[in-house]
């Protein structure tokens, strides 16, 4: 059945590719030289677009007609007036405009009159329309098939704020915004290096959304970069409104619960990942940047780990792993132990549980399902609900479901505790938050069927599944499996920064020759000798003073 689907899929892909090729090399369209023809054409394109503006001005003694086209509210009026209109309409400036040669006029306008940071020439009409839609102003010159594109974008946008999804106690508080340019600048400000490459692409046939590939040349794997470019170039989609669209189009395995592409709202996290040799994809219109390849390990890492002391952050990492297991297994374990392995529990503990379960009409399995479902509903309601009504959720959740169901004897106390601990543990791992409930459910069912053994069967199956996953060619569980001891320095323990000699082996590209990864040992030894020299100097100074 699946092979049939696969064949169909392939057929669709081929068809869409053929269509694309049919549509592709878009024919160039010349910009009409006469004003009336141009106006007619623009009017055709922008028919019924009431936010489209065409400003006609007459410049210089020779009375050249210039048509400035732009979309209202996408440009900054202030800059438009000061930097575009003012110099063009100033008779002192335009007096020296060369007489007849159009090329000279364009050069003169560019070089002497327009005081703008970015200005470029455009010869294709369709492209110029695209420029207008991007928020640039296009200056059409009468009698010339070349237009000038002036970038005076300016629209209402959110300022850089602290992101709500990834809060930190220590660390930078700025977050990405919805504007691509600002986001790229935020990354560039972290990594001041010409090797940080930023490649712009346009995706989405209807929306024409800009995206930007950011990577550090020389550190990111060349093959990885090519793979990302290849996958992005194959995207054939109408609209990209959020980076989630891209994520779904380029990920390795669409039929898995595990996140295979990372996303982050914080420039420092993205910069850190780029420095480790990953490729970031910043998408216009969303504060969430994607990073590939994404390893399972990253769900346990937090940006703060690198800003606080290594010992504390190592302990926190282990805590996160423990909470992962709690949120995955605890309800299942509860069911398994109560159903099958009562003897394995210490007697007093068992008695306490039995006492609180007395009179509860449902089996542990039903209880676990009921409480899990309730919690998921509460959580989803809490997210979707308008802020002012949020209070109601906590009252309903805490009082009605927690307290009342226990008092009514429908749910036992231990089950409420189990659900609460599970829920809280889930929030420690934001990237996995959305998939954990399903696995929890699987484990509860397996625990009810085969007890602990069923759970271990499930665990083995899930781990095998994870081992089979790859994110852009990198095994998902690197560096645990396949294990690479050198990369263990940043896994469950975060080694101090001065002990991290090598970059992650699975990600980085060799700099020269055969070396698969670069050891920065040499430089660290140099630092050491510097230290020794300094010590020597200090000693000498002290001796001199004594003498």
């Amino acid at each position: 059945m699946f092979s049939r689907l696969k064949k169909k899929f392939k057929y669709w892909q081929l068809m869409s590719k053929a269509n694309q090729e049919k549509n592709s090399p878009p024919r160039k369209e010349k910009i009409p030289e006469s004003t009336s023809e141009l106006k007619e054409k623009l009017r055709q394109v922008f028919a019924e677009c009431d936010d489209f503006r065409l400003r006609e001005i007459i410049v210089g003694e020779k009375k050249f007609k210039l048509n400035i086209a732009f979309v209202d509210n996408l440009i900054s009026r202030q800059a438009f007036n000061d930097n575009l209109l003012k110099p063009l309409m100033d008779p002192h400036l335009t007096a020296l405009l060369p007489a007849d040669n159009q090329d000279k006029i364009i050069a003169y306008l560019k070089e002497n009159i327009l005081n703008l940071a970015e200005i470029k020439e455009q010869t294709d009409f369709k492209e110029s329309v695209q420029n207008i839609l991007n928020g640039e102003s296009v200056i059409y010159i009468e009698g010339s098939s070349t237009a000038l594109v002036a970038s005076i974008k300016g629209w209402e946008a959110r300022t850089v704020q602290e992101p709500q999804t990834e809060t930190v106690v220590r660390g930078p508080r700025e977050g990405f915004v919805e504007d691509l340019g600002v986001n790229c600048a935020l990354i560039r400000r972290k990594i001041r290096n010409p090797n940080l490459k930023m490649e712009l692409r346009k995706i989405g046939q209807k929306t024409g959304t800009n995206i930007c590939l950011c990577y550090l040349k020389g550190i990111a794997d060349e093959e990885l970069i090519n793979e990302v470019k290849k996958r992005i170039s194959q995207i054939n989609i109408d609209a990209v409104l959020e980076s989630g669209y891209l994520e779904e189009m380029i990920e390795d395995n669409p039929f898995t619960f595990f996140p295979l592409i990372g996303n982050s709202e914080k420039p420092d996290i993205v910069a850190g990942k780029i420095l480790e040799g990953r490729v970031a994809i910043v998408c216009d219109g969303t504060p969430f940047a994607l990073t590939v390849p994404y390893l399972f390990l990253e769900t346990l890492q937090a940006s703060e780990d690198y800003y606080t002391r290594s010992i504390t952050s190592s302990i926190l990492r282990i805590l996160r792993l423990v909470s992962l297991f709690i949120s995955l297994l605890l309800p299942g374990l509860y069911v398994a132990f109560l159903n099958f392995h009562q003897a394995a529990l210490p007697l007093n503990f068992l008695l306490t549980i039995a006492a609180s379960r007395e009179g509860v009409p449902f089996s542990p399995f039903t209880e676990a399902l009921f409480m899990g479902l309730t919690f998921e509903i509460l959580q989803e309601a809490g997210i979707r609900m308008p802020r002012p009504i949020g209070q109601a959720i906590s009252i309903v959740g805490a009082l009605v479901i927690g307290e009342a169901s226990v008092r009514a004897g429908l749910v036992s106390d231990p089950m409420v505790i189990v659900t609460a601990i599970t829920a809280i543990s889930t929030f420690i791992l934001p990237p996995l938050q959305r998939m954990l409930p399903y696995f929890r459910l699987i484990f509860i069912i397996l625990a009810n069927i085969l007890g602990l053994l069923g759970m271990v069967l499930g665990l083995i199956a899930i781990i095998t599944h994870m081992c089979a996953l790859r994110s852009f060619g990198v095994p998902y569980l690197t560096p645990f499996a396949p294990s690479s001891p050198l990369d263990m320095k940043d896994t469950l323990f975060r080694f101090p920064h001065w002990l991290m000699f090598t970059r992650p082996r699975a990600l980085t590209w060799q700099e020269t020759g055969r070396a698969k990864y670069r050891i920065d040992l040499a430089s660290s030894i140099k630092n050491k000798t510097n230290l020794e020299n300094r010590k020597k100097m200090k000693n000498d100074l002290a001796k001199n003073r004594e003498g």
């Binding site: 392995h341 394995a344 085969l450 053994l453 069967l457 083995i460 199956a461 781990i463 095998t464 645990f480």
Partner: protein, 358 residues
């Protein structure tokens, strides 16, 4: 497909160790020797190292060839194919043995009401899934899961310390050397001799030169772990109980003060048995594919798993039959596969080399 499979040395050693550990987790090896079980086990272990030397030498003489190909080279196309078929049947039979061991243990200790076919079937599904994903993926999963095996072994060994009684070791050689020798022969065939199956897996190793080191290291480490388990059982249960019990570890863990580790032992059995059956079925399906000159072994995974499950349910009527066969008859049955044919292979390859040199 088969040639593409590549596993690292660490993965191979983990596979070998958990293969040897396999169902030995629940049946204390050399239990029939009573208080001298440790001595019998050590003898068997030394024999196991010798057998390992035999297999590794065979592999190094025929580098990057599986057992099926080696058999065909040594015995010619027809006899070789017949022997290969026998080996494949043996691998499937071995898988069914482990399935039944696992099912019986669970039915006897924890899941008394669950039908044995269901527990075995669930397990078989898991194994089939792992095999479909390939040996590489299974090797990677082993990297994460198998260290747990040793942790449990250490925990159980340490928590039982209060129950140990040194007088359980005496009298040494009460009934002479015969029972010890008999028991050590059993240890030799189960679990050490079964490593003949790795002749099917050695070709998947990345760096073939490491085979020797990895094989001996894993047999030594696992031998040591199993020795600790044997000593644990003898010290905590005493010889009388040890000889009579079917699954000694499940009883000895119940002796732990205040807590019961029985589920942990079952989990250990599951982990070891998972790798053991996966390796057995992998060897069987790869053997079939090579015998038929095909390319992809994945088509045979599910049929082979179902066949092994069926065998495990049909060959034995009850647990006593299983114990009787595995204790009394098993080693007559396997010695040709584990010792005699490999020795023939070794002799033939050496002779061929000598003749070629001339």
């Amino acid at each position: 497909m088969i040639r593409d499979t590549r596993i690292s040395g660490y993965q191979l050693s983990l596979l070998m160790m958990s293969f040897i550990f396999g169902s030995s987790a629940i049946v204390a090896p050399a239990a029939t020797a009573g208080q001298d079980a440790w001595l019998a086990f050590i003898l068997g272990w030394l024999g196991g190292l010798l057998l390992m030397w035999l297999y590794v030498t065979i592999y190094l003489d025929n580098p990057s060839r599986t057992l099926i190909e080696i058999l065909r080279i040594c015995f010619g196309k027809y006899l070789g194919s017949v022997l290969a078929l026998l080996y494949i049947a043996y691998f499937l039979h071995l898988a069914s043995f482990v399935f039944r061991d696992y099912g019986e243990y669970l039915t006897l200790t924890t899941y008394t009401l669950t039908p044995i076919a269901f527990t075995i079937g669930c397990f078989a599904l898991l194994v089939a899934y792992c095999l479909k994903k390939g040996l590489e993926v299974t090797g990677r999963a082993a990297e994460i899961l198998i260290p747990y095996l040793f942790i449990v072994a250490i925990i159980v060994f340490l928590t039982l310390i209060p129950e140990y009684e040194l007088k359980n070791l005496t009298p040494i050689l009460e009934n002479g050397f015969a029972p010890v020798a008999d028991s050590s022969l059993r240890v030799l065939t189960f679990p050490f001799g079964e490593t003949v199956i790795f002749l099917m897996i050695f070709p998947a190793l990345y760096s073939a030169r490491k085979v020797e080191r990895i094989a001996f290291l894993s047999v030594s480490i696992m031998g040591f772990t199993l020795l600790s388990i044997t000593v644990r059982e003898v010290l905590s249960l005493g010889p009388d109980l040890l000889i009579r019990l079917v699954f000694p570890p499940s009883i000895s863990t119940e002796l732990t003060p205040k807590i019961q580790f029985d589920p942990l032992i079952a989990v250990n059995l599951l982990l070891g048995g998972w790798i053991k059956i996966t390796v057995c079925l992998y060897a069987a399906v790869v053997g079939i594919t090579q015998l038929l000159g095909l390319d992809d072994y994945r088509h045979f995974v599910l049929p082979a798993a179902i066949l092994a499950v069926g065998l495990s349910l049909w060959t034995f009527n009850n647990i006593f039959e299983l114990m009787h066969i595995s204790q009394k008859l098993y080693y007559y049955y396997v010695i040709p596969f584990q010792v005699i044919i490999p020795v023939f292979i070794l002799v033939i390859t050496k002779l061929k080399k000598v003749f070629k040199a001339k």
